[in-house]
């Protein structure tokens, strides 16, 4: 039983690290951008630019946040 629980916890940790990583705001913004793109596409609106835009913007946001939190020597 203990082995099964630790296996489930291990898999959950792995999935969280794989999908969310060290900045949950980026993952959330990307998922919202994908959902918005899906909605726009069903309305026949060209929205290929939305996800790359959000990805690039959130990268800058996350870099800035990380730099403020830890300082330049932390990378």
């Amino acid at each position: 039983m203990r082995l099964a629980v630790s296996a489930v916890v291990g898999v959950a940790r792995f999935l969280y690290g794989f999908v969310v990583g060290d900045d949950w705001t980026v993952a959330l913004a990307i998922l919202l951008a994908l959902a918005a793109t899906g909605l726009l596409v069903t309305d026949h609106i060209s929205a290929w630019w939305l996800v790359p835009f959000v990805a690039i913007f959130m990268t800058g946001f996350s870099l800035r946040r990380s730099a403020r939190k830890r300082g330049p020597a932390s990378f």
Binding site: V26, I30, T37, G38, T59, L63, S66, G71, F75
Partner: protein
């Protein structure tokens, strides 16, 4: 060129495009995180693919490839962005220097045993691209009435591109780790963006060529962020002095 030649060449070229994407992912992941787990992941992807093809055969055409692209693409995009961001920060802070053993511990790559991140990335890349190759074979082969030749064309593409990737292995391994992390992050982010949006129904004007456009856009953005980060690090150092 005969009809058989056209079928062979068309399936070879169409499959080559998918095989290049497959090999780039395995090559990048292997060089950045270790070859053993990446190659085991690729082999597992091929095994699942072989079983799927054997069981479904020509019914493969009925597989809903759209939702699969969205799931695999979104996962690659989310993971690729983590490496993209870390690669930018590390190249800005340390330049193109290799990061050595310290980085291995920092990135939580296991020193022994299976690295499941490398396994999953390779597995998904091989499975999705392999399924796309299988769909090319089935749809084109059935339409042309030359299923056998289609299989030969696709298999030849996978062998040729795979061999080219293997030949590049030594070169890729010599790239500094910080830069390699940024390159692989950019590649995974570009493929992930392309596949997830394609799965959602976005029609790319130049088809697979738009992956190159995404690569250029993400690379330019990375170069801009590296410049900004370096400036910020320099200013912080001046303030501290």
């Amino acid at each position: 060129m005969t009809g058989a030649g056209v079928v062979l060449l068309t399936t070879f070229l169409a499959s080559s495009v998918e095989a290049i994407e497959m090999v780039i992912i395995v090559l990048g992941v292997g060089a950045a995180r270790g070859w053993r787990s990446a190659l085991i992941g690729a082999a597992a992807g091929f095994a699942v693919l072989a079983v799927t093809i054997a069981v479904l055969n020509v019914a493969l055409a009925a597989i809903p490839i759209g939702p699969l692209r969205v799931i695999v693409g979104a996962l690659l995009l989310l993971f690729g962005l983590q490496w993209y961001r870390k690669g930018i920060a590390r190249v800005a802070a340390r330049g193109l220097a290799g990061m050595g053993e310290e980085a291995v511990e920092e990135e939580d790559i296991p020193a022994s045993g299976m690295d499941w991140v490398a396994f999953v990335l390779s597995f998904k890349g091989v499975l999705l691209e392999g399924l796309e190759i299988a769909l090319i074979v089935v749809s084109f082969g059935l339409a042309a009435g030359q299923l056998g030749l289609s299989v030969v064309g696709a298999a030849a593409a996978v062998v040729v591109i795979g061999a080219a990737g293997f030949a590049l292995k030594g070169f890729v391994t010599r790239i500094p780790r910080s830069l390699l992390q940024l390159i692989v992050g950019t590649l995974l982010t570009s493929f992930g963006t392309f596949w997830s949006l394609e799965g959602l129904g976005v029609s790319w004007p130049q088809s697979d060529l738009d992956i190159v456009l995404l690569l250029v856009v993400y690379s330019l953005a990375a170069a801009s962020y590296i410049t900004l980060e370096r400036r910020r690090i320099h200013e912080t150092a001046l303030e501290a002095a």
